[in-house]
C-alpha cells in the first residue's frame, strides 16, 4: 500500500517500500535478473563455444572464418574416432555396472527401517559435497601399490609382491568412475522406490503375489523411471569426464574427455577442442532426450 500511496496516513515517503518503480516494472526487473543472469553466465559461454567450433587455427592464430573442417578432421581421423568409441563403451560399461550396484544399494536402503534409512541416504549423498579430486585420489589410495586391495591380497598370501595392475589402466578408470558416480545412480532409484505407495505392495500381497512376484510386477516397473534418470546421469558424467582418466587411467585410459582437454591445454587448438565438445554435447543431449522419454512412460500421462 505504501508503494502505491506513500504519503498517506502520515507514513513518510520512502518509509515503506518507498516511492520506487511501479509494481509491473519491479516484476520485469526481477524477472530480468532471475532469467538473465543464468542466460549470461551459462548460455553465453556455451554459445561462444558453438561459434569457436566453426572457426579454425592457423599456427597460434585463430581464424574467424566459418568452416566445418574441425568436424571433418574428427570423423576422418581414426585415432580420434577410436578414442570416441572407446569412451562411449567405457561410459556404457560404467552405466551398466552402476545400474546393478546402484539398484542394489537403493533397494537395500529402501528396505531399511525408517530411522536408519535417511541417515544412510545422507551418508550416500555426502560424497557429492566433497571435492572431486579428493575422491579420485582416495581411489588411487585404494587401487595403488600401497593400496587396500594390494595390502589385503598380500596379507591373505594370494600374491607375494604388490601388483601395479590395479592402477593406470582403463579398468582403474572403470572402477573409479563407478564408485564416484554411484550416488548419481542410487539416489534417483531410491527416490523412485520411496514414491511407490505402501498400499500398492500390500495390494499385491493381498492379491496373492509372492515377494518375488511383487518385486517383478510392481516394484521394478515403478522404479524404472528413477533408474533411467540415474543411468542418464552416470552415462553423461562418465562420457565427458577427464579428471578420473587423467589421474588413474595412465596411457591406456586416454579418453575423449582427455582428448578435449588436451586441445585446450597442450595443443592450444581451441576451435578443434570446441568442436569435440560440441560432439560430446550432442551425445549428451541425445541421451538426455531419450532418458526423459523413457523416464516418463505413457501410463503417467493422464
Amino acid at each position: 500500500m505504501t508503494a502505491l500511496d506513500p504519503g498517506r496516513d502520515g507514513v513518510p515517503a520512502g518509509g515503506g517500500r518507498g516511492p520506487g518503480l511501479p509494481e509491473p516494472a519491479l516484476k520485469a526487473a526481477w524477472a530480468a535478473v532471475v532469467w538473465g543472469l543464468p542466460a549470461v553466465v551459462i548460455l553465453a559461454p556455451l554459445a561462444a563455444f558453438l561459434v569457436y567450433a566453426f572457426w579454425y587455427t592457423d599456427g597460434p592464430q585463430v581464424v574467424r572464418d566459418f568452416t566445418l573442417r574441425n568436424f571433418v578432421t574428427f570423423v576422418e581421423n581414426d585415432s580420434y574416432t577410436r578414442v570416441f568409441l572407446k569412451t562411449l563403451g567405457l561410459a556404457v560399461q560404467v552405466m551398466l555396472v552402476n545400474l546393478a550396484l546402484g539398484y542394489a544399494v537403493a533397494y537395500q536402503l529402501w528396505r531399511m527401517p525408517a530411522r536408519w534409512r535417511y541417515t544412510l541416504v545422507l551418508a550416500l549423498a555426502v560424497p557429492l559435497l566433497m571435492s572431486y579430486i579428493i575422491k579420485i585420489y582416495a581411489m588411487r589410495g585404494v587401487l595403488g601399490t600401497n593400496g587396500i586391495i594390494n595390502a589385503t591380497l598380500v596379507f591373505l598370501g594370494v600374491i607375494e609382491e604388490p601388483l601395479g595392475v590395479f592402477l593406470f589402466n582403463l579398468t582403474a578408470v572403470r572402477i573409479t568412475l563407478s564408485v564416484v558416480l554411484l550416488p548419481f545412480m542410487a539416489l534417483p532409484i531410491f527416490v523412485a522406490l520411496e514414491k511407490i505407495p505402501a498400499t500398492l505392495l500390500q495390494a499385491s500381497d493381498d492379491l496373492g503375489a509372492t515377494r518375488w512376484q511383487t518385486f517383478r510386477n510392481v516394484v521394478l516397473p515403478l522404479s524404472l523411471p528413477g533408474a533411467t534418470i540415474g543411468a542418464m546421469f552416470t552415462f553423461v558424467l562418465a562420457v565427458g569426464d577427464f579428471l578420473a582418466p587423467e589421474l588413474v587411467g595412465g596411457v591406456q585410459g586416454f579418453t575423449y574427455g582427455r582428448l578435449v582437454f588436451s586441445q585446450f591445454g597442450m595443443a592450444f587448438n581451441w576451435p578443434f577442442g570446441a568442436a569435440l565438445s560440441v560432439v560430446l554435447l550432442g551425445v549428451a543431449l541425445v541421451v538426455i532426450v531419450v532418458a526423459a522419454r523413457a523416464g516418463s512412460p505413457k501410463w503417467q500421462r493422464p
Binding site: P197, T199, L200, Q202, A203, S204, D205, D206, L207, G208, A209, T210, Q213, N217, V218, P221, L222, P297, K298, W299, Q300, R301, P302
Partner: protein, 393 residues
C-alpha cells in the same frame, strides 16, 4: 418413517439381532483380540462374529481402532493378543498372500503402470492362471462392476468412482469369501458416494460375498449394512442392526453418534416387568418398552434417550402422565419454532423441570406450523421410542 413424529409408534425394532437368522454360519470369528502399539493399546479385547453372507460395517470416529482391526484381519499387522478364526481355522500365522479374502483400499491402490484389465487380472496372473482365462475372467469382472470397455485404460485416465470399481473387480476376481473394505468411499464426492453406496450394497447382495466395511460415516453405515459394529477408543460400543443402534443405543456414545437425541438424565427404573417398564425422570414417570429395559432392573439409575423426530406435539395444556393411548405425555412451553425444510424444529422447555429442554422435530406443512413460540403444548412419545442408557454418564 415420515409420520413418525406425528404418530411415533412404528420405527423401533425391538430385536437387536435379526438379520440373517441364527442358522447362518459364522465365517470369521474375532476372539479377545487386542493390539498394542508400544505402550498404547489401540484395540482392547475385541470379540466379533462375522456371519456368512452379511454386510457388516465397523463404524467409529478416527482413532477408534476400526482400521487397525481391519488391518489385523487382512494380515497387514500382527495382533498382540487373541485369535482370529476364519472358517474354523486360526489364521494367525497365515501370510497375507495366502489369506482367502481380499482388501479394497481407501486409496484404491491400483497399479498405475498396468491397464485396467491387467489390474483386475492381477490376482489370477500371480496364481499362474493362463493369460486367456485371466483376460476372460477380468472382462467378466469388469462387466460385473459396469466398466465394460474400460479395459485398456490406465488408472490415471479414470475418475475416482471408476477407480473404486476397478479395485472392487480386482478383489472379486479372486472369488474371495470375504472382502475387506477400508473406507473405500472416503475420497469420493457426496453425490458419487451415494451412488457407490447403492452399487456396493447391490453388488454384495448379488454376489453373496461377505463384506466387512470400515467407515467413519454414520449415514453410510446405516444405509448399507445388515449389522453395524460401533467402535470407540479401541473397544466395541455396540453391535446390532442399524435400527437397533438408532432406536436402542446402549451407551451414551452410540446414542449421540447417529444424529440428534434427547438425553434425559437422572432417571431411575421403578418397574421392570416382562410386559413393559417405567422410569421416574425429572419429566415425570415415563413408560418404556420391555426390550428397552435390557439389562436394567428396578432401582438402576438410567438416562432416557428419545429421538427428536419420535416426539409429537399437541397444542394446549396437559398433565405429565401416561395417556389413555399408552403414550407418554409431557407438558411443555415452546421456546423456539424453526422451519428447517422437511421438518420444523421446536425447542420446548419442560414445565415440570424448566432446566430441561426437549428438541422436537415435526414434519413441516404448508401454511406454517400450528404452534408458535410461547405456546403451551404437550409432547407425546411412545414407550417404544425411549431407549435406556446406564446412568451417571
Amino acid at each position: 418413517m415420515t409420520d413418525v413424529a406425528i404418530d411415533p409408534g412404528a420405527g423401533a425394532t425391538p430385536d437387536e439381532v435379526s438379520a440373517p437368522g441364527p442358522e447362518a454360519g459364522i465365517l470369521l470369528r474375532i476372539e479377545g483380540v487386542s493390539k498394542d502399539y508400544g505402550p498404547v493399546r489401540v484395540l482392547d479385547d475385541i470379540d466379533l462374529d462375522v456371519r456368512n453372507g452379511e454386510f457388516i460395517t465397523i463404524l467409529g470416529p478416527s482413532g477408534s481402532g476400526k482400521t487397525t482391526l481391519l488391518r489385523l484381519i487382512g494380515g497387514f499387522t500382527d495382533l498382540t493378543e487373541g485369535r482370529i478364526v476364519f472358517d474354523g481355522a486360526d489364521i494367525a500365522g497365515v501370510p497375507i498372500n495366502r489369506r482367502p479374502f481380499n482388501t479394497v483400499f481407501q486409496d484404491y491402490a491400483l497399479f498405475p503402470h498396468m491397464t485396467v484389465v491387467r489390474n483386475v487380472g492381477y490376482g489370477l496372473m500371480v496364481r499362474g492362471v493362463s493369460k486367456r482365462d485371466t483376460e476372460r475372467r477380468a472382462a467378466a469382472a469388469l462387466e460385473t462392476v459396469g466398466l465394460t470397455g474400460f479395459g485398456e485404460r490406465y488408472p490415471a485416465q479414470l475418475s475416482g468412482g471408476q477407480k473404486q470399481r476397478v479395485a472392487l473387480a480386482r478383489a472379486l476376481i479372486c472369488e474371495p469369501r470375504l472382502i475387506l473394505l477400508d473406507e473405500p468411499l472416503a475420497a469420493l464426492d457426496a453425490a458419487l458416494r451415494r451412488q457407490m453406496q447403492q452399487f456396493l450394497k447391490a453388488l454384495q447382495r448379488r454376489t453373496g460375498i461377505t463384506f466387512l466395511f470400515v467407515t467413519h460415516d454414520q449415514e453410510e453405515a446405516i444405509t448399507m449394512s445388515d449389522r453395524v459394529c460401533v467402535m470407540d477408543d479401541g473397544r466395541i460400543e455396540q453391535l446390532g442392526t442399524p435400527e437397533a443402534l438408532y432406536y436402542r443405543p446402549r451407551t451414551h456414545f452410540v446414542a449421540t453418534f447417529f444424529g440428534d437425541n434427547n438425553l434425559i438424565d437422572s432417571g431411575r427404573v421403578v418397574a421392570a416387568g416382562p410386559g413393559a417398564g417405567s422410569v421416574d425422570t425429572p419429566l415425570g414417570r415415563l413408560a418404556v418398552a420391555a426390550d428397552a429395559l435390557g439389562p436394567f432392573s428396578e432401582g438402576d439409575p438410567v438416562v432416557v434417550a428419545v429421538r427428536p423426530e419420535s416426539i409429537g406435539l399437541e397444542a394446549g395444556e396437559g398433565e405429565a402422565a401416561v395417556g389413555d393411548d399408552g403414550r407418554n405425555r409431557v407438558a411443555v412451553d415452546l421456546e423456539t419454532v424453526e422451519f428447517v425444510g422437511p421438518v420444523t424444529q421446536v425447542m420446548a422447555r419442560v414445565r415440570a423441570a424448566p432446566d430441561i429442554r426437549l428438541e422436537i422435530k415435526v414434519p413441516s406443512r404448508a401454511g406454517g406450523a400450528p404452534v408458535a413460540p410461547g405456546d403451551s403444548a404437550v409432547a407425546l412419545f411412545e414407550p417404544a421410542a425411549c431407549a435406556l442408557l446406564a446412568g451417571h454418564r
